[in-house]
Symmetry: C2
Subunit: 716 residues, 2 copies
């Protein structure tokens, strides 16, 4: 699955120095994560040259830089401004790490079940398991408010590169430059927020080559309307994940409200139940989380030999831990399932990414390209100074390597809350532009929504997670490290975790608010053991944060030079690396050949039953009762899932897929395993994005879930 979490949650999971917290509650994690993205994700852009690009459908295009000429030339398609604006404003971002679209005039939002699963999980209890069993609101009154969702609709993009760069001159050290740049970005955002009332994020594009201001309308009253069972949405489970052919109804419907009533939506997608046939051009509008295609060969090496292997070790560790916890019983299984799936999903994705990087042919090609580019730069006296950027990036990798294992971040929901409270108290004493990025005024509302989320925190699971994090810290830093001594306080990881979780009051939202209201003094006075621990870690945390900011800034400046070089040598018709902001991708619906087999572009709903039978109906290939009951009634030949060559990655989950008329034909939910190199490079030989066909959504609502009127509302 292309959960936002594939990239974003894992950014948090892996980042050794910059993350605030690891919340086993995805929502909380991602809210922080999403808002942090502008700050610490330095998107790059593709290294592919124009000529090569023309051969394929590569590209995650900015809505203000769509390759209109290319679309016209290759596909005879006219991307008018009106067409683009309608699609942009019909698109929705789940700040929890996914994409979606408006699909009715009265606020219906269609996304993936696996994007919704975090909310489904938070709404579930030991008695009602909406994630497993599904949900259908019989009327508006039945729709259940999500505890902490924030949905964003992009309404405007403004170029602010010159303004941001003005704040930084060459006399500043990287650390000073990073600070000055952040302050300027915060200032622009605050001004925009005050002027428009819209959420305003300055987005770093082309790895630091450009800065654009994105303005969003925010929706925070979001209610659950319909979700199928996990057995239908995630049929085939971890085994089928990233595979194709597939048979998943990976969709969920929410509705946004304003002033307690369904929101009136001007831009929403109409349905095209006929869908797109093999060979037909489709468009994907969504928020790819992060790619690293601009990376230099040495930066790729660091990914290959350090970041990805370390991340995979961490993922496997958490996977095994949560599996073991789930053995405790059905309720433990329920509590850990969403996180476990997310982690398994990421592990599979990262394995695919690493496989791509480990193929010697890839780096060889990248190096040849780089050598050629550098040669062209050095041949031109005006461009020659830009060539040093490659060496600067190499040096950053060496410094990152030297920081290995020096994390001061503990991935636990309760610790994360404590740390945010400690940091916020200190940050609030500064002016907004001086603060750590997530505590700036323009982000206050979103940050507090996460901090005060009433989503359940389970003490037993917290203990298991925290004990493992403490153990990990002993392993990473060594048992004799002074910070480790502070962490353990003379106890074993398990004993210390129990003491901390049993002793803290932060599980109670009121206790968080009370502490927050008291500022620095209240933090200083607090005897809460989790707060005391976060306070003891603060200095080291800030030290590492500062180094990380500095390294990011050096990379930003270097990639800005490389961007300039590429624009000069290759022309400016290139797209920037993904930044969890809205992008347009496109390509035909297209089957592929693999290991001598032809894999057709579409599956059918009847195929799900055959797939179940071929696995003898064993877990995870067990269709829900609702499907079995409806088997004879439903139109089995309804197309179910389909593939296209559109260039997507984690974060694109839930993206609408539309035809030339801008009508909805499907919804992205996955990429096949061959597409997983997309973080580093695009390939359409066998790499494919995978969607649920919109006809299957409508047929399922009508014939399986007893909700024909809901089906009738879609597109109206």
């Amino acid at each position: 699955m292309l959960r936002g979490s594939t990239s974003i949650r894992i950014e948090l999971l892996e980042a050794s120095t910059v993350i605030r917290n690891w919340n086993s509650r995805v929502r909380q994690t991602l809210q922080v994560g999403g808002l942090l993205l502008g700050g610490w994700i330095a998107g790059g852009f593709s290294c592919m040259s124009q000529e090569r690009w023309l051969k394929a459908d590569e590209g995650m295009w900015l809505f203000n830089r769509v390759p209109k000429a290319h679309l016209k030339q290759v596909y005879g398609f006219e991307a008018t401004d009106a067409w683009l604006e309608h699609l942009m404003k019909s698109s929705v971002r789940f700040n929890s790490g996914g994409s979606a679209s408006f699909v009715s005039s009265d606020g219906l939002v269609l996304t993936n079940h696996h994007v919704a699963s975090d909310t489904l999980y938070k709404l579930s209890t030991a008695e009602h398991n909406y994630n497993e069993d599904g949900f259908l609101a019989k009327s508006l009154a039945d729709e259940i408010p999500a505890p902490d969702l924030e949905l964003n609709q992009l309404v405007a993009i403004e170029e602010v590169t010159a303004e941001v760069n003005q704040a930084v001159d060459s006399s500043l050290s990287p650390a000073e430059a990073a600070k000055a740049r952040q302050a300027k970005m915060a200032e622009i955002e605050k001004k925009s927020l005050e002027a428009t009332g819209l959420r305003s994020d300055v987005v770093t594009l082309y790895g630091g080559g450009q800065y654009h201001l994105y303005r969003y309308k925010k929706y925070t009253d979001v209610r659950l309307v319909w979700a199928p069972e996990a057995g239908a949405a995630f049929f085939g489970g971890d085994a089928d994940n990233f595979e194709y052919p597939r048979y998943c109804l990976d969709v969920t419907l929410f509705r946004v409200y304003e002033d307690g009533k369904p929101a009136k939506i001007e831009h929403f997608l109409k349905m095209n139940p006929e869908g797109a046939k093999e060979g037909e051009l489709v468009f994907v509008s969504g928020n790819p989380g992060r790619t690293r295609r601009i990376y230099t060969a040495d930066a790729m090496r660091y990914q290959r030999d350090h970041r990805l292997p370390d991340t995979l070790n961490l993922l496997r560790r958490k996977e095994v831990l949560l599996q073991q916890y789930g053995f405790g019983g059905p309720e433990q299984k329920r509590r850990s399932k969403d996180d476990l799936f997310g982690i398994q999903n990421s592990r599979k994705a990262y394995t695919g990414m690493l496989e791509g990087l480990q193929d010697p042919a890839f780096l060889k090609e990248r190096e040849a390209y780089e050598a050629q580019l550098i040669a062209k730069l050095e041949a031109d006296p005006k461009l020659a100074p830009l060539a040093s950027a490659f060496e600067e990036i190499t040096k950053v990798q060496q410094r990152r390597l030297a920081l290995k294992g020096q994390s001061a971040s503990v991935r636990s929901s309760l610790y994360g809350i404590a740390q945010n409270l400690v940091l916020m108290a200190a940050e609030d004493a500064k002016s907004s532009t001086e603060r750590l990025r997530e505590f700036r005024d323009s982000n206050r509302e979103s940050m507090l929504q996460g901090l005060y989320s009433p989503a359940p925190i389970y003490p037993d699971l917290e203990k298991v997670m925290l004990a493992d994090e403490l153990a990990r810290m002993v392993e990473d830093r060594g048992g004799d490290d002074p910070l480790v001594a502070t962490l353990l306080d003379g106890k074993s990881p398990r004993a210390r975790a129990s003491e901390l979780v049993d002793g803290t009051k932060l599980i109670d939202v009121a206790a968080r608010k009370e502490l927050a209201s008291g500022g620095v003094a209240a933090i200083g006075r607090s005897t809460d053991p989790m707060v005391r621990l976060a306070a003891a870690m603060e200095t080291e945390y800030r030290r590492l944060q500062k180094i990380s900011d500095e390294l990011d800034e050096i990379e930003r400046q270097a990639y800005a030079k490389i961007t300039q070089a590429k624009f000069a040598v290759e022309g400016d018709s290139v797209y920037p690396d993904a930044t969890f902001t809205l992008r347009l991708a496109f390509g035909p619906v297209k089957g592929y050949a693999l290991d001598g087999q032809t894999i057709p572009s579409h599956t059918t709903m009847a195929g799900a039953f055959e797939h179940e039978a071929s696995h003898e109906s064993t877990d995870p290939w067990v269709l829900p009762e609702s499907w079995k009951k409806a088997k004879d009634k439903m139109k089995g030949q309804t197309p179910y899932n389909f593939v296209s060559t559109a260039d997507i990655i984690g974060g694109n989950s839930g993206s609408p897929v539309v035809d030339r008329q801008g009508n909805m034909v499907g919804i992205i939910f996955d990429g096949n395993i061959q597409s997983l190199t997309a973080d580093y490079y695009y390939s359409d030989t066998v790499g494919r994005s995978v969607s649920v066909h919109i006809a299957a959504v409508l047929e399922a609502l009508r014939s399986i879930y007893g909700a024909p009127s809901l089906a009738d509302q879609l597109g109206r």
Copy 2:
């Protein structure tokens, strides 16, 4: 489970430089592993002082150094030489990594199902799954020969310390000393083999402080008689593993043959179906695989901060890999299940060990003890020179750390075979005493049994395992390492693994024999890609092996000094660290208190049904059909599993538990999770060994498995 694999297979899995091969076939691994033990496991001995020891039942005692006075004083028990000899000769070692006992005059051998599972797995096919479904031979003719088992009965122990040490004088460098010592050991073994016809192993005890010659009668015609279903043997699966209370029928019966007929056995155990009650003293006779209790504080630090975390990363990696492979279908699940269980078992065991080391209190105590010992040494001019040993061991840890990631070992069955063929060809050109230890003459028969094992090798599983090993090598050494370039040959790990597995002929035993018969010339001529790869890796492999031998020798000499120091300061009534050789442990049957709960020493067979019901009969808590059918017929109150304080560790699996009369009351199959620190230290506060009660074995044979006559044969 205390599979031999817990310690031994994992020794192989983790050891970065010294191992020959990783065979997904346990048997093969362990045969090599078992025979290597004398060579590269430098057993130590407990650091516990005499006074402390007297408080508990700590100790894995040599049969020629049983603490008779202590047994007499504390338990009023007279351990006569006849009693000891009978128990020793009734005990059996599975060279595949477990313990067992003779239980009838006509060759019946009782061990654990999980010790047998490797053989059950090898005897199984897609059609007959003896591991899952169990097996019962209706007559002698039905008994199925195991493909490659070697059982050992210890018949004599001889002290050879002086002779071994004579070969090494202080003028030799560590590398020369290691070579000279190995040559001497090989010479002693060869002489003994020629004189007695018995398998002869020189065992390094007290970390190098003493050398004893062990002579074994070998049985290689071993046939399967009875195994229960995995659902009964491993009821509760990975979830219940290392937990207590337990309900497992973890037993299997084999029979040894000589000259095609059931072997006549003089020493075998009689049964005591009454068993041992709470508080009653019991004895355990088995082969604990390895402990590290002699380790210095700095050696423990290396374990805590490097060896165990690295091993756990590797185990989790293989666990996730095999799980994913098993998703392929029921046959894939069957093929990977035994290895997967072994790995999960080890992962759980290692997690427990690491938790013990991460408790700051443990190392603090160890350091205090060490400081005291050093002070005593330095106060005595005669002993003072011994104190330098601690610093020498510290330096070895630093050198080991510098070798991190420099492995030249590929864990794949087919690669292992290729490597053994390549090494054997070169080694055979030398005299026996000059060879790598496992290729010495006295070990030839055992080595070839593994090399020529007809056990199935599945190409699809091999590809998955090998691709992962190649990827791991890229990660460990970095993608630009020259050895990695050789390994990958310009292809991705997955593509290269397919090429190697598809291209090799070594899956065919005849091809192995043909290559072996041609010596160095045949290896040089071979175009088999797996052989070529092993040949290309040979130099680096030998280089690392040499360093490893040198470090082991330095440690041996240093631990020999520490042993001498301890004997001088604390007296000589101490036991050496485990070495996968026969030991005697003892202690009372005894329940314990945990988290405010009292956990009784015994469970009953009826309790298994209650345990199943409490987990709603979900996997892995599903009793087999045979149990359900027999439920009303069986005596539910029959004791099932029980705990005692006897000091055991992995390798003890299958050890007979006997009463004061030497009659069998049970069979060891596990330790609880609190006992897992046993690698580093013993604790009987809540640490317990777990056994199957012999009454349950008899009752199950009679009432569940329709084999009353087999039950009647036991003990006769």
